[in-house]
Each structure stands twice: as C-alpha cells, then as structure tokens.
C-alpha cells in the first residue's frame, strides 16, 4: 500500500500498478506486477507527470515487479530518453528474479544506472 506521502494510481488486474512517493525533487516510483507492452499507457502517464511536478531525480523501484519482457525494456529506454531530455536523473532499483536476469543479460545497467 502507499505510504502516507504516496498515492496509488492505475490499478487493474493482471497488469502493472505503481505508487508514487515524492520527497522534495526526488520521485520514487514503486512498480508492481508485470512490465510489458500493456504498461505503455502507464509509462506515458508517468513521463507526462515528471516535468509538471518539478522532479530532478526519479527512481524506479522494481522490487515488486515479477515479470518484464523485451517490450518492458523498451519502455525503460523510452523513460530514460525522456528523462535525459527533461534533465532528470533516472535510475533503477532492486530488480528481482526474472527481471534482474533480464537486466543483467541485456546489460541495461550500463545505460540506466541500477542499484541491485
């Protein structure tokens, strides 16, 4: 559940949902579920919210994401590019299981900083 400073968005069955935690100019997005092509709309919502909120750093917490496919990696690329353009520092955090394997095999941590 979202903490006192967070709020929950975009809940639906079998897909992805996330919670936003803001602390000053740092935004942590706690992702849950699966990051696949279906998460495209969510990601675009996330990106659209960055600049409005005056965010300087954004961390994607992946610890509760149990599956990500190559389309999900594509969304990370899109988010990373959007962050660069907006002057936002974008990072990944705590991938687990299949998601961690995928990031390591694809060496995504070499283009998006990732705290394992």
């Amino acid at each position: 559940m979202a903490g006192p400073s967070g709020w929950r968005l975009a809940m639906w069955d079998g897909a992805m949902d996330y919670t936003v935690h803001d602390s000053g100019t740092l935004r942590e997005l706690e992702m849950r579920g699966q990051i696949t092509f279906e998460a495209d709309t969510d990601f675009r919502t996330i990106l659209a919210g960055w600049e409005k909120a005056g965010i300087a750093d954004c961390v994607l917490n992946l610890s509760a994401v149990d599956y990500m496919d190559s389309a999900g990696l594509g969304l990370l690329v899109m988010a990373n590019n959007a962050a660069k353009q907006a002057g936002i520092v974008f990072r990944l955090k705590h991938p687990r299981g299949q998601v961690r394997d995928l990031i390591e095999i694809s060496e995504f941590h070499t283009i998006i900083p990732c705290e394992f």
């Binding site: 496919d69 389309a71 594509g74 690329v77 095999i105 694809s106």
Partner: protein
C-alpha cells in the same frame, strides 16, 4: 435521400395510388413501380435489376392470398425484402396465414396517411440500414480477404529469409552436424530471424535474432537485418565484432524503444568449440554426450540501443556427440496452462529429460512435450535451433 432501389406497389387500380405515391415521395422514395396484379412476379423481376426496397401489396389484387405471397417469397430477389400488405383482414386466422406465407407486416385499414407514413418509414429505414450494413460487411470481407492474401505473401517472403532445406543439408554434410529448427510466429509475421552460413571448411556461423515486439513492425526489422547481414565486410568470423558492427548499423535505423536481442556464434568443428557473443539474447545451452548440460554466459546490450556498445566473445566446448540449443526468449517466457512462466529451468529440464531413444527427432520430441504444458497460441515469436555434432567422421574436406 437518393433514389435507390424502387418501391414496388401492387394495386388493383394503379390510378388510385396517388396518396400512396405522395406518402412514399415525402419519405424520400424517388423510384416507384406500380403494377396491377397481373404478372406481378414478372413485373418485379423486370422492374429491378436487384432487389426492390420494399413491396407494398393491396389485398384487393386479383389472385391475392397466401399462395401469391409464398410464390413471391421464393423469388431470390425478394427473399429479404419487406412485403407489406394493405387491406382489410377478416379474421385473426387470415392474418396469421398471410404472415406465415411471407408477409412482413399487415397495414390494416382504416389507416390515416400519417399512420401509413409512420409504418412505411420504419420499414424503409430498416431496409436502408440493412443494405448499408450488408455493404459494410461486404467491404470488410473484401478487405480481410485482400489483407490475408498480402499477409500470406509477406509470410512466404519472411520464411524465404531463413535457410532452406538444401542449405541446411549442405551445412550438415560439410561440417558433420545435424540441424533442426522451429520457427513459429505469434501472428502472421514475426520478429525472429535465424541463419547459418559457412565460413571455411572447419567453421560455420550461426545466428538467432529476436526484435522487440512481433507482427508487421518487428517483421520489417528482420528484413532490415537480413539485408545488413548480406553486406560484405562484416567481420563474420568474430562474433563480438560482428555484433558491434551490426549494432552500429542498427543504431539510428530502429525507432525509439525498438531493438534486437541476438546471439552470433562461430562453430569450429576442428577445434571442437563454439565462440559466440550475445546482445541481450538468452543463454545458449550445450547438451554433452554424457547428458550433462552446460549453460553459456550471456551479457550484452541489445542491438540498436547505444552506438558505443561493445560485446564479448565467450567460448564453449562443442565436441562430437554434443548438441547446441539456441532459442528466443519466448521458449521460457511462455506461460503454461497454470499461468506460471515456463522458465529457463523448465527448458533445461526439458532438454535433460530427453532420452537417447528420442534423439532421432529430438527437437520435435522436445516441442511435443513443451506444447503439452504451454498453450499453443504463444504471445511471442518462437525460434529454436538444435545443432548436433555427429560422432561419425565428416563427409566433407577438413
């Protein structure tokens, strides 16, 4: 409103149909045919090339009755046309008989012109909507048929990118190997591509590539890659350099968030080894003669993401009697009937579980078992390559 097909009026005294014609005219009917009953069926056939919009019959027509209605309904062009009967109907039985024989509705007199107009407009509008719907359905059928033909042609073209049976037999004979492959797209077209080609008498190259997504967009990327691979000047015998070169060509060519996972391997049958590099591709699997499985490492940015990406060569023993298995991630990311992911462990279990008696068609046996636990409609494109080194001496030159 346009004229459209005509409305046919059957009336014993055509000269008395003025009010009817006025009502229909106000409802937008521009084409009217009035017949007096004699040879009504022939008049309908002559009056319209196709079907009329509506047939309005006066119950006082000579010979009018259930038999006449049934006869009209048997005409192909009147099968779906509203047939309305205007008149006085003596009994419920008579009305039921007319309806059974083919009348769409009975307009019982006395009837004001306003009521007549309201009743007719319902059937005219319904007929117009029905014809529009039929037209839309015909158009969709036609589009679908054309699209399927184009897709079938495109699929043939995509299958034409893969090594054909003759190319595979040639490699088998030259290098003392047995090759088997499975290529299954999740829709008509897919984003996977594999290939193999000789380098010299002791080495051949092998690759498997999986573009993000599936369907037409991913398939177009496979054609791009195929064209790039056909370029001379690729350092084909150095997997890491080959991937680096391909990556350099694909960066800027692929749209944002599209990329390719690829493994490129060089098999050296003299040195009994395999040198390969990966770009986000699944780990390769070698099944040794004693049944032991070896999982090769895999690391490297997918192709098309970053121009500065560098790749590393890895080496695996690949002696006679061993088997190399390469596959796209759909093999282990697919979900079983229980909803759980098949997993890489599921793949190793599957390969390890194959008995020696199944080695005649090992890939077929493996996939039979796989599809017993995974629903056939895959969410992603699946490619599996099975390369076994023969224990017999090679037929080709060394």
């Amino acid at each position: 409103m346009s004229g459209g097909p005509p409305v046919v009026i059957g009336h014993p005294r055509p000269s008395a149909t003025g009010p009817l014609r006025d009502v229909l005219g106000r409802l937008g009917v521009r084409r009217l045919t009035v017949v007096d009953g004699d040879g009504l069926a022939q008049a309908v056939a002559d009056a319209t090339a196709g079907s009329p919009q509506l047939l309005l019959l006066h119950a006082g027509l000579p010979g009018f009755g259930p038999d006449l209605l049934a006869g009209l309904r048997e005409m192909a062009q009147l099968r779906d046309v509203p047939i309305l009967v205007l008149g006085r109907f003596a009994s419920g039985f008579h009305r039921a008989e007319l309806m059974r024989a083919g009348a769409t509705d009975l307009l019982a007199r006395p009837l004001t012109l306003a009521e007549l107009s309201a009743r007719l407009s319902v059937y005219l509008e319904r007929r117009r909507l029905d014809r529009s719907l039929q037209e839309v359905i015909r158009s969709l059928h036609s589009y679908h048929h054309g699209a399927m033909q184009r897709m079938a042609l495109a699929r043939q073209m995509q299958l034409g990118l893969l090594p054909d049976a003759a190319a595979c037999r040639s490699l088998e004979g030259r290098y003392g190997i047995a090759m088997d492959s499975h290529f299954e797209s999740s829709s008509e077209l897919g984003g996977d591509l594999w290939g193999a080609r000789p380098l010299d008498d002791r080495r051949f190259a092998l690759f498997l590539c999986d573009f993000t997504g599936h369907g037409v967009a991913a398939a177009l990327n496979t054609f791009r890659l195929h064209a790039l691979l056909a370029r001379t000047g690729l350092p084909a015998d150095d997997p890491a350099e080959t991937l680096r070169t391909l990556n350099g060509l694909l960066v800027g060519l692929l749209p944002e968030a599209q990329f390719a996972a690829m493994i490129y391997a060089v098999v050296d049958v003299s040195a009994d080894r395999l040198v390969y590099a990966t770009a986000g591709a699944p780990k390769p699997l070698v099944r040794h003669r004693d049944g032991r499985l070896e999982v090769g490492p895999s690391c490297g940015l997918p192709l098309g993401l970053a121009g500065e990406a560098r790749y590393r060569n890895h080496c695996l023993d690949f002696p006679p009697g061993s088997t190399l298995l390469l596959f796209s991630d759909a093999l282990y990311e697919a979900r079983g009937w229980d909803g759980g992911m098949f997993g890489y462990g599921g793949v190793t279990d599957l390969v390890q579980g194959l008995g020696d008696d199944e080695l005649e068609r090992p890939l077929g046996c493996m996939l039979d078992r796989y599809f017993a636990t995974v629903p056939r409609l895959l969410a992603d494109d699946l490619t599996v390559l099975w390369i076994s080194r023969s224990v017999r001496p090679r037929s080709g030159p060394d």
